[in-house]
């Protein structure tokens, strides 16, 4: 890759890495895995840097790589193992403001959704991707994105309502 392209990529990676990590976290519920997925996605972007339409397709392609990386993690057996460390520790610690608990409720509610619904709701309502971009990222039609997002939102509200009621 030319030095100018590398400089452009470095700038892009620096700007995107946090955003991608947060998106991945909402989809997988684990900050370490989210960071790995964000790195994997950026490496994939680097590999196709000259072939990507950088004016329109860069953001979508980065998200597509991210979703693929997160889904790939589920397929790796060692990734399916959940250690009872950080997440459970966060919950066990007293949180006077209740912010951490609220965050965890949302992440747990997201985790209860099927992966494709979770991806739809995160891409549409957190990453601000359009209907068409989300469809392209997930490789499904816009109708599929609409229906999956709708079902995901309904289920998410239901889960969060239940959580709030049980927390009272």
């Amino acid at each position: 890759m030319k030095a100018s392209d590398e400089a452009e990529f470095t700038e892009f990676a620096a700007a995107m890495v946090r955003r991608l990590r947060r998106t991945a976290y909402l989809m997988c519920g684990d900050w370490h895995r989210a960071e790995d997925a964000a790195q994997d996605a950026l490496v994939k972007v680097y590999r196709r840097w000259h072939r990507i339409n950088r004016t329109q397709g860069l953001n979508s392609y980065a998200h597509q790589c991210l979703v693929t990386s997160v889904f790939d993690q589920y397929r790796k057996p060692w990734r399916r193992e959940r250690l009872a460390d950080t997440d459970d520790l966060d919950r066990a610690l007293p949180d006077p403001a209740g912010i951490v608990d609220d965050r965890m409720f949302v992440v747990e509610a997201l985790a209860a959704l099927p992966p494709s619904q979770r991806a739809c709701v995160v891409l549409r309502h957190y990453s601000d991707l359009s209907l068409e971009q989300t469809a392209a990222v997930l490789g499904i039609g816009t109708g599929g994105v609409k229906s999956q997002t709708s079902r995901a939102l309904a289920r998410l509200r239901e889960l969060l309502d239940q959580t709030e009621r049980s927390a009272l």
Binding site: M1, T10, E35, A38, V43, R47, D102, V106, H125, Y126
Partner: protein, 276 residues
């Protein structure tokens, strides 16, 4: 309508208390390494594929040496001779004896003979055999080696026959002079089914022996020589050899018939017909 969800998602993804461990420079190094690995893998795959193809071709054509065997390799399908309607038997197998060993064996026998007969090697047409001679065609079995060796300059051939059958070993070495064969070929050795030298444009020779149910295909050598295999030694008590006048046909590479003649002499003894 979905602002509440968007707010909740944004809050859940808040990473202010989660410092980023990713260093962009390290990421760049990792990405470069990934690209390098892909290129190396692609290059290795290309090399392996090429090697596999070359290896496959080598295995497929194994057993067909590159000396004295220009055309007419064996095939798995039964070909029918359109002239006679008979099936064509495959050419005889390739002799596993190397050209250098063939020359060496023939040289040793000739030297032995010259010494026993007090013959001056220089007095023989073409002079003594040396490793500068080339093997035009060869065939062998467990005991018999037959070869035509051509002198440098191609003016003289040495028809070398070594029979090492226990109890009845024999050797013969004839030195026919070679001239450019006409379209009908040149008989350089009368009484032998492979004693005709065909024009150089002939790449396939078919021999039809009267009474045989198939047509024999010769294995072509260099300089217009061909072989139908080793004629087995005829020891005492062997049944009498059929006495026939075979028909020989020669075809050019484009399929054109160049030569078609019945041998003007009776052939004594015939090599066995190779089995498919």
């Amino acid at each position: 309508m979905n602002n509440d969800i968007e707010h909740l998602l944004a809050t859940a993804a808040d990473d202010t208390d989660r410092p980023l461990k990713t260093d962009v420079d390290d990421l760049l190094v990792r990405a470069r390494r990934s690209v390098r690995r892909t290129r190396i893998a692609a290059a290795s795959t290309a090399v392996l594929t090429t090697a596999t193809i070359i290896g496959g071709v080598a295995v497929w054509s194994g057993g067909v040496p590159n000396t004295a065997q220009p055309a007419g390799g064996p095939t798995n399908t039964v070909a029918i001779d359109p002239d006679t309607g008979k099936p064509i038997a495959p050419p005889p197998p390739v002799s596993p004896v190397s050209d250098r060993e063939v020359i060496g064996r023939c040289m040793a026998k000739e030297t032995e003979f010259n010494r026993a007969m007090h013959r001056d090697p220089a007095s023989v047409a073409g002079g003594p055999l040396t490793f500068k001679w080339t093997v035009a065609v060869k065939s062998s079995d467990a005991h018999v080696l037959e070869a035509i060796l051509v002198a440098p300059g191609s003016g003289v051939a040495d028809v070398c026959y070594i029979n090492s059958t226990p109890g009845s070993p024999s050797w013969s070495g004839q030195r026919p002079r070679l001239t450019q064969p006409p379209a009908s070929g040149t008989v350089y050795r009368a009484g032998y089914i492979q004693g005709v030298r065909v024009p150089s444009e002939v790449t396939k020779v078919l021999v039809d022996v009267p009474g045989e149910p198939q047509v024999r295909q010769a294995r072509m050598g260099a300089d217009g020589f061909y072989t139908l295999g080793v004629t087995p030694s005829r020891g005492p008590g062997s049944p009498p050899a059929p006495k026939t006048k075979p028909r020989i046909r020669g075809y050019a590479a484009d399929g054109r018939k160049v030569l078609d003649r019945v041998l003007p002499f009776i052939v004594h003894g015939m090599p066995p017909v190779p089995q498919r």
